[in-house]
Symmetry: C2
Subunit: 511 residues, 2 copies
């Protein structure tokens, strides 16, 4: 697909004014751009510097243009040919992590990728703490807005240091995708209504503003992906662009599970979406020995002949277990028969399972590392929630899992969990593995796609128009479906033939 | 003509969010404006204040909108109904005088009119001094820009004091008309090329910018009339809108004489324009006892039975003579036979004419007040220049004065000179007096019209497209025609039957 980005740089060799052609400098400049860019908006600072600069540069100048969604703005003029220095930024503004890419706008190449902590986390690990901190305190809201900007600035600084590219000089535009709360903080809007009935938020779709207005050191414009609803944010819309689900014939499921779960089912014909609380178990931060995917985290677990074999990030001694390790561990425990279908640890099946603090059962998966029954329960609630969202929406549509041609599990999370373990615990459906797609950070991918293809802006509007939204918290029979989904892999285990096969192989058929 | 101005205020009674209608505040606001204003740009400060303000105001708010030439911007939101406070500004930015009007945007009524010195004059009475002061000194250019803004601010302050209307709160938009140099200073652009070949100025048509960008305390946008050429400025284009010449069937001449003379001839079929140096004689500042039209200035002169009868502004003792006095004086001298057709004072015709300093003849038109032969020569050059411009363009068009249906003499100047005296000295053509129109400050009138009718912006573009421009300095046979026009009223005196009649009445027929 041809690049048609939010910015352009054009090297212009202008004719100097003569008696025969004494057209004004402004017109001399704009007429050279008009065939390609039509009615260009000439930013006042450029108007003011234009003439002296053109003379100094012998009328050989480079114009930088930025698209505001409707028209092109001439935002910078430089001496000589600087078209090679044409960059842009895209970002996934997560509530914990900010991921940034620096893009070469002519080639679309990712020149640098980095991520860092969203500095809002200093005001609360979870979003609600931050929201309550700001409520009725505009000055605190401004603090969080600044922290958000400084999170960006920290990554900008790193990118400049690593690449030698000047962000403020050579990066024109930024595309951000984030959930509704993150977008509120970025624009300096109180996000309280995101979580409070009647959920009438400040905006689901901020307009395009100039970088400087928003506090970014960028001469061009900033586009933020719009949200569909308070719980279905711009990161999901960005995922739609990244995966292309709304433009294809194939019937797809798009699932993003974190503290909240977001789901879209559809194709070019229709799109239905939903969101609800999932639970933080998958993020590794909640279980007793859980941790983020950092050095020292167990990220792979195998159980062979009654012995655990662990893979540890950073080749260190294990200190705890991260999301992908948890899924592996539960899958292995279940296949080994140390965990029953209801998700209960089987005392006596192995000496590694025994009561620990307050008589709660735990399995010692590594030396001094314990995974508790309550951790498992927490995980199963989360996976049941995710599972149930899919189930619920499919039922609404009169569809079955077998009708689904692609099943996307988005998020950095999805890329680390093994497909087999995910299926075994019933987090993923038991479908052909090539239909189960773990595309990584689709929010960031969609932001990059948008940056490079401004026509996607209208596509996103079409997607929003077409998409229907269900808020699962408000759905009555949701809990009932969810109970069935709490079992491993599922109460209706017939749906998981590959898991049944594995159990049979190990001599432990479910019947 | 219905008012369709650059700004709107709308009182909105919005429904508060409910479970049934929890659409975001931004959308709640914009959807109420969409039927009338389509895709409104929501300024970031308004987005940020919107929600708290709406809640405090029980969702009864007033939106202020400003037109940028393409789209409407929501630039302010206020509690309750403030639609009554809806004002705008228009200004004629002359090189000496800044004239300002405060307009009620719903009625078009002029609520206050004032004028004051253009503070650039501190840097030189004439424009060239100011231009050379700034040349190659960007910091001096910035000084002049600030002086220009302060000239506005001084009038804003006066207007606020006199009317009690808050400019920064309740005036949204400003329309300015001025010549090319004034526009350059206002936008912070070096006007040197206005007077230096090849006359490739910075811009003839500044784009629409936000008041704040330009340094005005206004929330809306600022439109400046475009110029046709370096010497044919926005004030003339504004005059076109004020008089309606380009839209009517009647063939018109539009003449603006000051230090420079500008001329347009045409109607809805065609427009031809020209400009050239005229001479400052008409502005009263150059002749030895000349002065501005201030208290103490002689503004009317009659000569009855060999005696001067003077009218003095401010009912004071006469201190000097202003433009309208000069025209009266010369007309009376000529009719009395004290001045011949070639414009030479006739020594011996009256004791009031005698040699003065350096043996130069002068007429004592008041006690101790002398008007010199060189003053008369200066005036005649100016009137000849004006006359010749008209003559030249008419010849180009194959037209004669008798083809002209309306002859406009624009400028504050025009309103003070008596028509008869103007005809007598040959400054105006000898046409039926009701076809000779002295419309006053058409630059200011056109600015007001533009403020109230945004569709005129396109009309102005059409006028610019249609208008042809001749620079008289560059015309070869110009001087030749001009010599003939230096006579009183003209070498071809047959063109001035009414003057011939008066002379005959006084027993002094030209033949």
């Amino acid at each position: 697909m041809t690049i048609d980005s939010w910015s352009r740089k054009r090297y212009l060799i202008l004719e100097p004014p003569t008696e025969e052609d004494n057209c004004p400098d402004q017109e001399r400049l704009l007429r050279s751009l008009r065939p390609e860019f039509h009615q260009v908006i000439l930013e006042l600072p450029v108007l003011r510097k234009m003439s002296a600069l053109c003379q100094e540069a012998c009328w050989q100048v480079t114009a930088s243009l930025s698209w505001d969604g409707y028209r092109w703005h001439l935002v910078e003029l430089e001496k000589g040919d600087t078209t090679q220095r044409h960059y842009g930024l895209c970002a996934d503004l997560g509530s914990t992590t900010l991921a940034l890419e620096l893009i070469h706008m002519d080639t679309g190449e990712v020149l640098y990728q980095t991520s860092g902590l969203n500095r809002q986390t200093a005001y609360g690990e979870d979003i609600l703490t931050r929201i309550f901190y700001c409520k009725d305190h505009p000055e605190r809201l401004e603090e969080l807005r600044r922290e958000t900007l400084e999170s960006f600035q920290a990554l900008f600084d790193r990118a400049e240091e690593e690449t030698g590219i000047s962000i403020s000089r050579d990066c024109l535009n930024l595309v951000v995708s984030g959930n509704t709360t993150m977008t509120h903080f970025l624009y300096g809007l109180d996000p309280f209504p995101v979580f409070a009935a009647p959920y009438a938020v400040r905006t689901l779709a901020p307009q395009v503003y100039r970088g400087e207005e928003l506090g970014f050191p960028l001469k061009g414009h900033v586009y933020s992906y719009p949200s569909k609803a308070n719980y279905l944010g711009g990161d999901i819309l960005s995922g739609m662009i990244a995966t292309g689900i709304p433009f294809g014939e194939e019937l797809c499921v798009f699932l993003d599970i974190g503290t909240n779960g977001e789901l879209v089912i559809g194709n070019q014909e229709f799109l239905i979406s939903g969101a609800g609380a999932a639970g933080p178990a998958l993020e590794g931060g909640v279980v007793k020995t859980g941790m983020r995917a950092e050095p020292g985290a167990v990220d792979r677990v195998e159980l062979r002949e009654g012995q655990f074999h662990l893979h540890v990030l950073g080749e260190q001694e294990p200190r705890g277990i991260c999301g992908s390790g948890i899924v592996d561990l539960i899958a292995q425990l279940f296949l080994e028969g140390w965990l029953d279908m209801r998700g209960k640890l089987q005392e006596g099946s192995t000496p590694l399972i025994c009561p620990r603090e307050e008589q709660e059962l735990a399995v010692e998966y590594g030396p001094g590392l314990f995974f508790y029954q309550s951790d498992i329960d927490e995980f199963l609630k989360t996976k049941a929630a995710a599972n149930t969202m899919v189930e619920y929406l499919l039922r609404q549509l009169g569809l079955q899992l077998s009708d689904i041609q692609r099943f996307y599990v988005a998020g950095a999370f999805g890329t680390h969990i093994s497909k087999e373990a995910g299926v075994t615990v019933g987090l993923y459906p038991d479908i052909p593995r090539d239909q189960l797609i773990l595309p990584g950070n689709t929010s960031l991918d969609g932001a990059r796609q948008m940056l490079l293809h401004r026509e996607y802006r209208e596509r996103v509007e079409e997607i929003l128009d077409k998409m229907e939204y269900v808020q699962f918290g408000a759905v009555e029979d949701f809990l009932q479906i969810m109970v069935a989904a709490t079992a491993i892999p599922h109460t209706e285990y017939q749906r998981y033939p590959s898991v049944m096969e594995q159990l049979a192989k190990r001599g432990r058929p479910l019947e």
